[in-house]
């Protein structure tokens, strides 16, 4: 199906943008930046320090790990002077009684600090306890009052797997990876095709390979690049997950939540989606004569829409919008995997959607080949949208 020449073009294109040294350096830099951020957060973390807070004598608030509440006998002015002078206190609290039982608390500090939010929570808890005592509430009653409302959802559709399942996270991950892959393909396809046109290589290549072989090779090569970007990003995501699990949470590595059945379906959809998008990008890039003056390049961003549309309806996986998106071949590569992750579907539905997607890829590659050939025959003149649509819909042989 794919000719030997197309495979040679694909290999050339893939290796042309495969700068493993630069990529390795960028990953090392990324890890260095992450390490620097972690170290910075650790050393600037205010929650690990102990803060001395002067409170009024009538305050019976208990000390916590972070805060030491002390009741100084000196006057407030003196306390504030000490706060200003030598940091005897990190904060001084005073109490204003506004009504019969209404209090307002004033926290005096040198400047705003991050730990003040935590202190606010501690003070709120203290006053809540005080009010409860005044109202003669038992600790059980108080606990009941403080308990948030929990709602359990019972879904009658047996096929719906649930709202916040691990599968949804997988589906979201796939959307992010697709976005990364298509962004990679976007830049490379545009640069590669318009670059070759500007470097006058296309006419030389035309004498060696057919426009379709050339376009097939381009699409395949850049799709491989996109998949490589997706794979490396997935590995980085997995690495971060493992580091967080082992180092931060100290839970050990548990990949039990990964539903391999869903993952097995995600892969062909993602691969075909990348191919379809690369074909579309190739068709548009082939119609551009000079990327510096043409406005057609932005149209290639249309390939991001399926992910955006799917994300917008991700919380209604059984809705009409998701149904349309999951069947339409131009969007199914993003929508069907998400739907499958969240709803149990009979096997024939993803299979049929996949077949439609294969047909769309086949059609789009033919369109891209035709547009490349016709565009090249215009010798430096950029085709109009009308001409492009005409070529796309024509069945004229190459």
């Amino acid at each position: 199906m794919i000719s030997r020449q197309s495979m040679i073009v694909a290999k050339w294109e893939f290796l042309r943008f495969f700068k493993w040294k630069q990529q390795l350096i960028s990953y090392l830099l990324m890890m260095a930046v992450m390490a620097a951020v972690a170290l910075w957060s650790y050393f600037t973390d205010e929650s690990r320090k102990v803060y001395r807070i002067a409170v009024p004598a009538e305050f019976s608030i208990s000390n916590t790990e972070q805060f030491q509440f002390q009741r100084p006998t000196i006057a407030l002015d003196e306390q504030l002077a000490q706060l200003k002078a030598d940091e005897s206190w990190h904060g001084v609290i005073t109490l204003n009684t506004t009504g019969s039982d209404q209090h307002s608390v004033v926290l005096h500090t040198l400047a705003a600090k991050k730990w003040q939010q935590q202190l606010e929570t501690e003070l709120a808890d203290y006053f809540r306890q005080q009010y409860a005592t005044k109202l003669q509430l038992t600790p059980a009653q108080l606990a009941q009052l403080q308990q948030p409302l929990t709602i359990d959802y019972a879904y009658l559709d047996e096929n719906f797997k649930g709202k916040d399942t691990p599968e949804k996270m997988i589906a979201l991950g796939v959307l992010i990876l697709l976005f990364i892959g298509l962004s990679t393909a976007f830049g490379q396809v545009l640069l590669s095709i318009t670059g070759e046109k500007q470097q006058r290589v296309t006419e030389q290549l035309y004498a060696i390979v057919t426009p379709q072989q050339w376009m097939d090779g381009k699409v395949l090569g850049h799709s491989l690049s996109a998949m490589k970007a997706m794979l490396t990003s997935a590995l980085v995501m997995l690495l971060v997950f493992i580091v967080v699990s082992v180092v931060v949470r100290e839970d050990g590595v548990n990949l039990g939540w990964l539903n391999w059945g869903v993952v097995a379906w995600l892969v062909p959809f993602a691969l075909l989606g990348v191919l379809l998008s690369a074909c579309f990008m190739g068709a548009i890039a082939a119609s551009i004569d000079d990327p510096n003056t043409s406005g057609k390049g932005a149209v290639m961003m249309i390939t991001w829409l399926p992910m955006l549309f799917t994300y917008l309806v991700i919380d209604s996986p059984t809705g009409t919008a998701m149904m349309i998106l999951s069947w339409l071949p131009l969007t199914s590569f993003a929508a069907m995997p998400v739907k499958m992750a969240m709803v149990d579907l009979p096997w024939w539905q993803p299979a049929l959607s996949l077949i439609l997607l294969v047909a769309a890829v086949w059609w789009m590659r033919r369109v891209a080949g035709r547009i490349f050939l016709r565009g090249m025959q215009m010798y430096g003149k950029e085709p109009s949208w009308g001409q492009i649509v005409g070529w796309a819909l024509s069945n004229k042989a190459d």
Partner: protein, 309 residues
């Protein structure tokens, strides 16, 4: 391989690029398409390659009992007018890529590459990026790319453009080597002196039409016998005076003591010399026949006059 082109026409919008052009090329020939810019040479080449099709007329390519309406890719080596390769890749990578696309194994491609790089004295630069080479050397790499797979037919659109005289001579040698290997060559050019040295057949074009065609001898015959007498004299002569003595001749003034007299077939050399000797003292007299460049200019001028008429 044989190529028969019969009355092809090609229009681009309102512009008639090629008008009723016919020619034939036999196996092993070097065939030159000559003409000024916009004459229709590249349009013909693009039809031969199959990039465009003639609006009318026919192209018949015959090779080993098979017939095509354009040159099949597997038999073709092509140097386009708009040319370029990958500037950020080395000579070797560029050539290897194109050779492998042509179906050559890596080993065979490297072997052929070594030969042609040696011919063009580029062997020690094979690992340099193309962008590091001069324009002339880039052109040599492109010429190698066109023949690396030993095609039956090589089409070279302006192979001499951008080259200095020394490298133009190298290209002449290169083209003769292709002929010696049994390849058929079609080239388009402006450099008449180069074409005269190597073309077996040629076609002179102007404004999409064929003006003169055939071998150099055929073309000279079609253009009519063209002779010129170059004279040098001892002292200065006023051109108007010379024209008065020889009113029937066209005279080119090269200096006050050197003139070129253009003769037609009917004019008698002895009579002209007698007339001159009676008036001035000659130091040198040289008879010349017109070269391709002069024939080309004359043919172009006559064509323009016909078109204006």
């Amino acid at each position: 391989m044989q190529l028969i082109v019969t009355a092809i026409c090609k229009d681009y919008g309102t512009i008639a690029a090629v008008r009723q052009v016919s020619f034939q090329i036999n196996s092993g020939d070097i065939f030159a398409l000559l003409g000024p810019n916009g004459a229709g040479k590249s349009s013909i080449i693009r039809m031969l390659v199959g990039m465009t099709k003639p609006d009318s007329g026919s192209i018949l390519v015959s090779h080993q009992d098979e017939h095509y309406d354009h040159v099949p890719r597997r038999l073709l080596g092509y140097l386009p007018e708009d040319r370029g390769l990958y500037p950020d890749k080395s000579i070797e990578k560029n050539l290897l890529y194109l050779a492998q696309l042509h179906g050559l194994s890596k080993q065979k491609a490297l072997q052929e590459m070594a030969h042609w790089l040696e011919v063009f004295e580029l062997s020690d630069r094979r690992n340099e990026d193309l962008k590091q080479l001069s324009k002339g050397n880039q052109q040599k790499v492109q010429l190698i790319a066109a023949v690396l797979h030993q095609p039956a037919l090589v089409i070279l659109d302006e192979p001499f453009s951008g080259l200095d005289p020394i490298n133009q001579e190298k290209v002449v040698t290169f083209l003769k080597a292709l002929k010696a290997r049994g390849m058929t060559v079609i080239l388009s050019a402006h450099q008449m002196a180069m074409v005269e040295k190597l073309a077996d057949h040629m076609l002179l074009m102007a404004q999409g039409k064929a003006i003169l065609a055939g071998t150099l001898a055929d073309i000279k015959q079609q253009a009519g016998p063209q002779r010129q007498m170059v004279i040098s004299c001892t002292g200065p002569v006023v051109a108007e005076q010379l024209q008065q003595w020889l009113p029937e001749l066209e005279i080119d003034v090269q200096s006050t003591t050197r003139f070129v007299l253009k003769l037609t077939a009917a004019q008698n050399v002895s009579a002209i010399l007698q007339q001159l000797v009676s008036q001035i003292e000659l130091t040198q007299v040289e008879m010349q026949t017109a070269d391709l460049h002069q024939l080309y200019l004359t043919a172009m001028a006559e064509h323009q006059l016909r078109e204006q008429a």
